[in-house]
Amino acid sequence: MPPARWNWEYAWEITPALIEGMLRTILATLLGIVIALVLGLFFALGRRSERKLISYPVASFIEFVRSTPLLVQLFFLFYALPQVEFLPRSISTLSPLTTLVVGLGVHYACYCSEAYRAGINSVPKGQWEASTALNLKTTSKWRSVILPQAIPRSLPPLGNYFVAMFKDAPLGGAITYAGVLFIARALQSADFRTVEPFTIAGILFLMVSIPAAMAVRRLERRVAYESD
């Protein structure tokens, strides 16, 4: 008889460790979301800037980051940055968690900036003209008129990017961040079993990502309903 392919006892034994890894993956995602939300808005505004000295570099940076793999960007942050001579160590040498959070945050900030941009462009022209007519300063125009209308419309695409970010978060394992995939690999090399760790990791993943995607879809319907 061949050895059992699925061992329930072993599966139960390793589940707590995998859940713990999952929580670390979720933590990195949440921190990455904060960076992407803030930085993405700055990117969107920078790209709209009338000064070409600002808008060109921002636009090329966004294009570059969006065209290259996140994994390679993480390797760059993790392996290459510490070897750049003119940077102080405290900036260039990042812990695995910081590397992952910065990598996810900057990568998805470039996507989020597109979501913000679409939201800003959807604000009716009359609103801009009215702000000018009321003699509002640039800061108060953005803060009190444009962004409060643009951001709710950006929420559904932003939500989709956050779900995508969560799906990329296990990449942290490649730079030794002990997320769910890293734990599964560690179990694999410790116990020489692969079916249970990777299957449970996959199930845990679906248990988070499918409800998250459903929540985003509900948000989508709600925003569409309200703006009609």
Binding site: K167, P170, V180, V195, A201, L206
Partner: protein, 229 residues
């Protein structure tokens, strides 16, 4: 300064052979992904509920699980579940990325089919075309111009995803760079690690620009061929 930025010819030739593996993975995943997109995109709109249900389960599963988890599961767990010794990493990579792409692609196909005016379907029924003829000669050709732009973006996403296969020991572009970095102490060719990674990033940038251009040409052609869009 420029010489410092460039790598040695040997390193470049290694990176090129890695790039070739990356190209093979993207071609394979694109082929599988496109077949899945078309089948599942059409199946999602089927009149039979079990066909719709199957497509929905596939899409939710392949999208919800991340490409990297799917890849590891295919490479490490699937062969044991089926009692096979092992799966070639190239096959695991193409399967995982292709199935993942198919899930996203089928939503694009479904949306495009739904955006074809209803009168086209009604006219085909009036002309007594079979369901297959209607799809092949009337609905899908009109959906193509709508499919292409998001499909180009999706293909670039899959190109970025190919870097994942470096983690299952396939010597793609990313893997070659990791090996060059690891061997830098023992090797005769010294390497500046930041410049090594910048070179790799630029190669990926070139590949995605090529894909973007191919899709731009295809978009222009389909617009000319199928009119309106």
């Amino acid at each position: 300064m420029l010489e410092e930025f460039l790598l040695t010819p040997r390193q470049y030739s290694n990176l090129m052979s890695g790039t070739w593996v990356t190209i093979q993975v993207i071609l394979g995943s694109f082929a599988l992904g496109t077949v899945m997109s078309l089948i599942m995109g059409v199946a999602r709109l089927s009149t039979r509920s079990w066909v719709r249900g199957t497509a929905l389960v596939y899409i939710e599963f392949a999208r919800g699980i991340s490409a990297i988890i799917l890849l590891f599961w295919m490479f490490f767990a699937l062969p044991i579940l089926f009692g096979v010794r092992s799966m070639p990493p190239m096959m695991a990579g193409i399967l995982a990325l292709g199935l993942n792409m198919g899930a996203y692609g089928s939503e694009i196909v479904r949306g495009a089919i739904q955006s074809v005016p209803k009168g086209q379907t009604e006219a085909s029924i009036a002309l007594n075309l079979t369901e297959r003829q209607r799809l092949r000669h009337v609905v899908l050709p009109q959906a193509v111009p709508i499919i292409l732009p998001p499909y180009g973006n999706l293909t670039i996403e899959v190109l970025k995803g190919t870097a994942l296969v470096s983690l299952i020991a396939l010597t793609d572009l990313t893997r070659v760079a990791l090996v060059i970095r690891q061997n830098r102490v023992l090797s005769d060719d010294p390497v500046n690690v930041p410049f090594l990674w910048i070179n790799v990033l630029i190669i990926y940038l070139i590949l995605s620009q090529v894909i973007a251009q191919i899709f731009k040409v295809a978009e222009r052609r389909s617009a000319r061929k199928f009119g309106s869009a």
